[in-house]
């Protein structure tokens, strides 16, 4: 088997994942939890609402444990990429493991994007778009992101044919 790419993401990405996942899970939890809370407040005699609330809360706690403690280190360990002169190689996925190889001459454009959480940690995510689909590297230091963007732009210029 071809050896894994070497470069890892910035370790701070684990915190970013934790925060953004926590926000999402909490939002979904509230959306499921609040209606039953209202039912329980309006009609205290309904015991089933309390049972459902307990179940939802249990699921929430479980999801929080999985997404806060278990997943981020594994995801971080599995997420690797290599940035060579000519191509970008990505390996990711825990159960379904994917390997991508994207020649830079096929890259049409690269964007760097920064959400508020990423910005707080001084990271940016780089999106590499080909004519058919795009790939996101979620956490790169700003300097590395710039290197990647510039290289892709340069090689795209050299490319003989666009598609």
């Amino acid at each position: 088997m071809r050896e894994m790419p070497k470069t890892q993401l910035d370790p701070k990405i684990k915190k970013v994942w934790r925060i953004s996942d926590a926000i999402w899970i909490t939002l979904i939890f509230l959306a499921c939890f609040v209606p039953f809370l209202i039912v329980a407040c309006v009609a205290p005699s309904q015991t089933w609402a309390v049972i459902v609330m307990a179940a939802v809360f249990g699921a929430y706690a479980l999801a929080m444990i999985v997404f806060m403690a278990v997943l981020p280190p594994i995801r971080y360990a599995r997420w690797r990429f290599d940035l060579t002169e000519d191509y970008l190689e990505i390996a990711k996925g825990i159960i379904w493991r994917n390997r991508y190889l994207i020649p830079f001459i096929r890259v049409q454009n690269t964007d760097t994007r920064q959400g508020p959480i990423l910005r707080a940690f001084g990271l940016s995510s780089v999106t590499v778009s080909t004519a058919a689909g795009e790939h996101v590297i979620p956490g790169l230091g700003s300097d590395q992101a710039d290197i990647l963007r510039d290289r892709a732009a340069e090689l795209a210029r050299i490319a003989r044919e666009d598609v």
């Binding site: 088997m1 071809r2 060579t84 002169e85 000519d86 191509y87 996925g93 159960i95 379904w96 493991r97 994917n98 390997r99 991508y100 190889l101 994207i102 020649p103 830079f104 001459i105 096929r106 049409q108 080909t130 004519a131 058919a132 689909g133 790939h135 050299i158 490319a159 003989r160 044919e161 666009d162 598609v163």
Partner: protein, 599 residues
Amino acid sequence: MKHRVHHSYMWLGSIRVGLSILFAYAIALISVFVQFFAKGGTRGAYTESLDFVISAACLVGTFVLVVGTMVVYQVISYKYLYFTLSDTEFSLYKGVISKKRVHVPYYRVQSVDQRASLLQRIFGVCTVMIDTAGGSSNKAVTVPYLTRQQAEWLRSELFSRKRGVQQGQRANAAASGSAAMRAPIGQAPEGSGNVLDFGSQAWEEYGGLFGGEEVETGRVSFEYGLSNKELLLTGISNNTSFLLVLFAILGAIGQIAQVLFGVFPKQGGDIAHDMVVHATGSAAIGFFALVAGCVFVAMLVVWIISALTACIGYGGFRARRRDSRIETERGLLQHTFQGVDVDRVQAVVVKQGFIRRLLGYCELSLAKIDAASANDDSTKSNQQAQQGMVIHPFVKLSRVPEILQGLLPEYQDAPEGLTPLPAVSLRRGLIRRCILHGSGFWLAVCVTAALAAINVLCGVQGFASGFEVSSEYAAMILKVVNYCCVALYIFAIVAAVLEAIGCVLWFRESGFAYNERFMRLVNSGFSKTEYCIPRQKIQYFKLRTNPFQRRSKVATLMVRTAAGVGGTTVRLLDVAQSDGSAWLAWGEPKPHAKRPTKA
């Protein structure tokens, strides 16, 4: 310089709009008439006819007004519709109130298609569509109502300017001529004419009322059509006609069932006896035979009509190589023309459905980047987007190399031989196809569960009390149900066996191969699809594994190209991991490929 479209844009467009408005009015009028006749007798004849006259006058008046407005709009918008060809881009200007301009750089032109309806064809005009590679939301640029002459001129101009931009200079006739010289010149294979060619030749000579003189657009180095047999087979095997036949059969079954249930007595009694009595009645037999016969004839007629439609749709099919372009045209009534530069071909696809496979024939098509449909006939465009550009709808497998050599000499050194799948894939494939995705297996499971539920949980007594029928009757019904289940089991076994055969076929014939410039990928089974993809056109390479695949040391290989609308992924399941990583290494840009000379 501003180029205008043909003046038929004004009146032919108006006629089209007028006809559709007329249609809407006809529907509205029906209700008026119904009202008129329904009201008959309630009032005096005088007021009644006055009412009618007034409403008719109103309708005619509004119709004239609406059509007039449309005509005026059409005329005004004609004034503002033009296109220009600059050094670097094609620009289309349109719109009266909200102006719209579309600029297409020549090097972004993917393909230039033209389409003409019957009416347009009579007048020798057509609609030109310019496909661009603009990502997932790209739309074709549509230039309506160009004369044939203009269209051909525009097409050759777009392609030659595109070449010119790419080479850093305007391509001249000599250069393109020499390019054609390099391509081996092939003759049309023997027997490539068919009965409908006569019609298309007549069209060719007629050319339409305003068609204009034919324009020399380049040198044709290879050209072929369909033989009678191929055309007929294309028509017969056309999917839509098969679907129609299926519907007709279903309809026939429905009819028969209805007749049978009509024969069945309503009240519970001796069914068999009643049936015999009814069946011996000659009237019932006659009626049944009549219905069945009618259905059969109707089915046959529908099938023949749809086959004929498909034949006419492929009538006058020609595929040719002109300089560096590949062109196909087809359609005896509605004319479709597609033209694509060889550089823009994303892959060559050899597709064999089950029937084509039995006969040893295949469908040959080119995958190209398609624009999302910009105009109203979205279903048609989508269909075409799925198919790519068909360069031969029904061709004998042995003739494929010959055609490819003539049409696409660039694809000559495609790799031979295939890297087979590892032995473990057969086991995995059998498990996947016969059990996990196996319709036969799941049918058997469902039938077993249902049987158990009926026989064990309900039993004769439960059934009898549940439906309030006598226990003998319930026992009989249970027996019938059990026999049905046996039939279903047989069906499930047949399905499972077929799936297993398909899986073995898949295992034996699938595989992939690659050399310096091309990659070949075959997905087999009862139907077989073969892709030949230039390395240059692969957007990215992907290997995917799940835990079971990792244990068996296999991986799924996925190739992403930009073909179709928004890209296409071609995949091959269960390739040996070592082969897969070698393929991934092949995907790394090679030293000689990564620094092309700046031409």
